[in-house]
């Protein structure tokens, strides 16, 4: 093979080092207008009046886009998977997080666009806001999400909770020598790509739209734009592929649709580049996760069972959170084989920025919780944490929480590499371990029934 294993230079390296790579902000189009957004200053408020008259009348303003201009105002990120939409592209009569867009202005300069945003008259009736997921379940908590209530309630089988049940958790708890529980909470994280959200939309003479996009998910974004605009895909040409960092934060199609609407309404090319402040305030981030783990373990270091409760803080709207939680549930044993499971997970809404992907959606905070917990269990057992991890590490044909047999789990080798890289001496027994299917000492009774057969994906 010429490519696998070879160290090849980046195909875009020369462009990157000579200033020749064209990012969206570098696209030059004659007659381009500049856009700015009016965003909510409140975390939770009713909009009782929205008057764009004065802004639209300002010299140099070419379009003011509000909810009334959007052909399909509510379209869900997971509509394609049958999950109802809950988030309006522009707020209509209610804002549910600070920074939520209400209007977009396209003007000759960005300064005029910002001045016009300031001239839009909005009256709010402020409502109590909810920030702590744990309070979302209280009977007197404010209702955050009109479509779903305070937590997503439309899983398969009419459940309001994502559940995994495997084996017999009660038997595992009864058989345990030790029960170790812990609560882990990770905070929200902004992806902070160096390039903020940016879009250039150009109305073409034949009625089509050309959209220069910073999206990480081209065809997904094409679908989102066309759905909101109610256009066939043949009418929209998206140009992308050069992204100034995304890390998951650019899968949400945050700027393309509104810029396209402003271009349609003004009949001119429009650029919308978010400020760094807007990016921090209003772009989808990695949401916080609240995780409670209870492990049933034996004194010789086997994990018999895990009971887990997860509450995912989705922010104000659903976006991809149900997907994130589902992925989280499939991974809630981490890289370890645990045969008896009882998992409950909730997607809970708060008056915060709607959350989205970031580098291992749904799993990164989970890994932190699982590994910190593993360390604690080993400590309480008085066992070498490497030995504890390596015993329980997934082997070929061990099965995941969603009952897929692992074909080529690499946990054993990863742990051995980690030890080698950090100067930890593993004993002969641990060094000799491999990923091969469990047998002998590595196949205690409790793991027999969970062995599957390869070929799962």
């Amino acid at each position: 093979m010429k490519v696998v294993g070879a160290r090849l230079p980046r195909y875009d390296g020369v462009g990157h080092v000579t200033g020749r790579t064209t990012y969206v902000d570098d696209v030059r189009v004659p007659g381009m207008l500049h856009a700015a957004a009016l965003r909510s200053v409140h975390h939770n408020a009713r909009i009782t009046r929205l008057d764009t008259g004065a802004a639209a009348a300002m010299a140099g303003v070419h379009a003011v886009v509000t909810h009334a201009d959007v052909p399909l105002l509510v379209y869900g990120h997971l509509s394609g998977a049958g999950i109802p939409g809950d988030e309006p592209l522009l707020a209509k009569d209610h804002v549910r997080y600070r920074g939520q867009p209400i209007a977009l202005v396209a003007a000759d300069t960005v300064d005029i666009a910002r001045a016009a945003c300031a001239a839009i008259e909005v009256d709010y009736e402020e409502l109590p806001a909810l920030f702590d997921v744990r309070l979302g379940f209280d009977g007197d908590a404010p209702v955050i999400n009109d479509t779903f209530g305070n937590w997503y309630d439309q899983y398969e089988g009419n459940l309001d909770v994502r559940q995994i049940r495997k084996g017999d958790i009660d038997a595992a708890m009864d058989a345990a020598d030790l029960i170790v529980s812990g609560v882990y909470r990770t905070q929200s994280v902004e992806q902070v790509p160096l390039e903020t959200q940016v879009c250039v939309a150009i109305p073409e003479p034949d009625g089509r739209l050309t959209i220069h996009t910073c999206t990480q998910a081209m065809y997904f974004s094409l679908g989102v734009v066309c759905s909101h605009l109610q256009l066939p895909m043949s009418q929209v040409k998206m140009v992308g592929g050069t992204v100034g960092g995304g890390f998951g934060g650019k899968v949400d199609t945050a700027s393309d649709t509104l810029t396209a609407l402003a271009a349609q309404k003004s009949g001119q090319p429009v650029k919308w580049r978010w400020t760094r402040e807007e990016e921090m305030l209003a772009s989808g981030n990695r949401g916080p996760w609240h995780m409670e783990i209870i492990d049933a373990v034996t004194s010789d270091g086997w994990i018999l069972g895990r009971k887990m409760l997860t509450i995912h803080d989705a922010g104000a709207y659903g976006r991809f959170s149900v997907y994130g939680l589902t992925k989280h549930s499939f991974h809630h044993t981490g890289a370890y084989s645990i045969p008896n499971l009882h998992f409950d997970g909730y997607v809970v809404f708060t008056n915060k920025i709607p959350t989205t992907a970031m580098r291992g959606y749904g799993v990164t905070g989970l890994s932190t919780a699982i590994e910190v917990h593993a360390e604690r269990v080993a400590k309480e057992l008085g066992m070498d944490p490497y030995e504890f991890r390596l015993k329980n590490a997934n082997r070929v044909n061990d099965t995941s929480p969603n009952r897929i047999a692992y074909e080529d789990p690499s946990t054993v080798e990863v742990l051995q590499s980690l030890a080698a890289a950090t100067g930890v001496e593993l004993g002969d027994g641990l060094r000799a371990m491999t990923r091969e299917q469990r047998s002998g000492d590595m196949l205690p009774d409790h793991l027999v029934a969970q062995i599957g057969s390869g070929g799962g994906h």
Binding site: R7, V14, V17, T18, R20, L194, G244, G245
Partner: protein, 173 residues
């Protein structure tokens, strides 16, 4: 106002308090300095003003009237890359590339001023340049290699001698 930008004399029409970044990007169409934050925090807009790295987003154009401004376009071309540019390719120091222009400008000033190959010194010289992609290690390696006087082959990339791998049984085939 008059500027010499990448050795070409330019007359600037923008208002005097416009940022040098806006003048370069919007009036002169020189797009390598990037608007990462427009508040001095990220370094993506860095250019050389009379040979010194400056954050163009915080520099009012009237304050540099008559100065010589160099952006990464003025340091080398695809056919004739500077050593810093070659090093960034060879050492894989540019990933998305959005921070790269500012870093190459700052690194050029550093090695041009006789900066050492010590990664602590380099880190200090480049402090305040954010890169969200690379984790900085490869950027430090690239600049150190230039300071050491290495030569570069841009048709390949440097291998990292420090990587530790465990051979996985059966994976060789």
């Amino acid at each position: 106002m008059e500027l010499t930008v990448n050795s070409v004399a330019r007359t600037v029409q923008s208002p005097p308090l416009s940022s040098l970044l806006t003048v370069l990007r919007e009036e002169l169409d020189i797009t390598s300095p990037k608007a990462g934050c427009e508040s001095g925090g990220c370094g993506a807009c860095t250019v050389l003003v009379d040979g010194q790295p400056r954050r163009s987003c915080l520099t009012a154009v009237c304050a540099v009237d008559g100065a010589e401004v160099t952006t990464v376009e003025g340091l080398g071309t695809p056919e004739d890359l500077s050593r810093v540019q070659q090093a960034f390719i060879h050492h894989y120091a540019a990933q998305c590339g959005f921070c790269t222009d500012g870093l190459i400008v700052a690194a050029t000033a550093y090695v041009g001023g006789g900066g050492s190959a010590d990664t602590g010194d380099i880190g200090e010289a480049l402090a305040g340049h954010y890169c969200r992609c690379t984790g900085y290690v490869k950027i430090l390696e690239a600049v150190a290699a230039v300071a050491r006087g290495d030569t570069f082959d841009t048709a390949s990339t440097a291998s990292s001698a420090n990587n530790t791998y465990v051979t996985i049984a059966g994976a060789e085939s």
